[in-house]
Amino acid sequence: MVVDEERLRATLSEAAESFDIPDMAVEQVLLRARDLDASPHLMSRFRRRKGETVASDAHGDAASEDEALKARWRRRMLQLKRPPVVLTTAALSLVAVTLILLATLGGLPSSQSNPSANRAPQGLHSSATPGAVSGGSAAPGSAGGVGASGGPAPAPGSSSPPATAPSLPTGAVGQSSKVEETGSLDLTIGKGRLETILTSLTNLAVADGGFAADTATQSGDASNIPTSGSITLQVPQASFDNVLANAQALGTVTSVTSKATDVTGQYVDLQARITALQASRDQYLTIMSKATSISDILAVENQLDSIQSQLDQLQGQLQVLDNETSYATLAVSLTENRSHRPPPSPKPASGISDAWHRSVSGFAAAFDGLVRIAGPALFVLLCLMVAIILGRLAWRSARRRFL
């Protein structure tokens, strides 16, 4: 049941008429209003506030001359502005959460497993062995079968040795580190997959600019000896980690070692000796051009032959060392499983499939990261949503209660 509109209208009018209009009230208001126009400081204050308050709402700040009234208005404005404050706080929190999430996402790559992350700095040995690990210590000059076989500087024999001191070899000062990197990997593979894996390993090396230096296979018998094989891959040092990681995915890893040897000293020594021999050769060539007797010429020629021989030998060693520091060596031993096992997983056999494999790995890593941050992010978002909803509900409730 509701009150009849006309009756309510009449009742309210009746009740309202009981309130007598104050004498001269409207005249006083208008007089006071006109005084505002005549008061420059009040008007300037109103004009200054007019643009920022009245244009938006009738709730504008009361620029009254009464300080108490102003204080009340400020309180009211603060209360009425609560929803924007809540929303602003929520927005700022959202921005902060977004920044945190971005920072978390940015930190993901560092937390991903990276074969190269476990590797020691160049010149130090590092090993990563899932099973039995065999590590070796770095021994300068012993890696790669390259010996520093150069003897002492050749004496010029009966002739006087060149007086000029050998100049510092090119590149000795500021010589970049020469690191020889080697690794070995033992894999157990499925029965009958030896040839396939060998081809895949070769393709891996070729795809990264390397090559297969050595391949050997050994057929087993039905009883004891399993079919096995080995392959030595030469790959650019920059691709070593990638090739090692991909090779590990081709079978079950039983052992993996990697070793980095700093051969900078050996390299510089070879360069110095080559430079010294070249200087000696130039001196002997000068002497020979001035020789007048046959015996002198023959003696100098013997020395020249000896120097040239040493020079060729040292240059060869330098070339070998250069190659070994440019290419890393990965020796992979493959042993077929006795029992037939399904292949571990389809392995990339070409550039496209390799790219696809990497793409899938990247997707999995990114998804892993997303799942990791999803929990905290969801919690923060839920908190924000609850705060916003509660704020809006409180504001609406307050407004509904009073307006």
């Binding site: 009150v3 209208r9 009981s18 209660r401 307006l403």
Partner: protein, 187 residues
Amino acid sequence: MVGGPRDNDDLAQWLERGYTRSFRTACLLLGNRADAEEAVQEAFLRAWRFRASLGSGSNLTPWLYRVVVNTCYSKLRDEVRRRERRSELSHLEEVASSTPPPEEQVWRIDVSRSVARALNDLPFHLRVAVVLRYYAELSEREIATAIGRRPGTVKSRLHEGRRLLAAHPALQALVLSESAPVEEELQ
């Protein structure tokens, strides 16, 4: 209060014409004559100050009532609440204390007492809707503009307000006493 003022004199006349209704609207909302006078005065001063942005036409009246309502709300919250309901029927005390009511005013005082009591028991948002609609004669759309809500909200508030008023004992008695002579006449 239809049609907007063009200059200061027009505005003065417009405010002067609307003062009585605005004042009594504030009285009904606050139940307090002194606070109502202050509220209307403040609203009018604000209208004068911001007359450059008042605009004209049909939005002017809702704007003025919006200021009045907001000022009343502020008064109610800051001052009337502090008085702890001492304001209830205070205007009647003023009337009673100033001059003894003549005989013809007794009925009006009874009406005012009942309406004031019923309105005072209404939530403020319902009170605003009822007073603006049935005393200030604003349309639902104008009330919506004045209080910043949708017309549908105003409509539901009006209905709720009328329902609560009908259920209120003070106003129910008034309605019954008013309807009794009508029924007698019909019989």
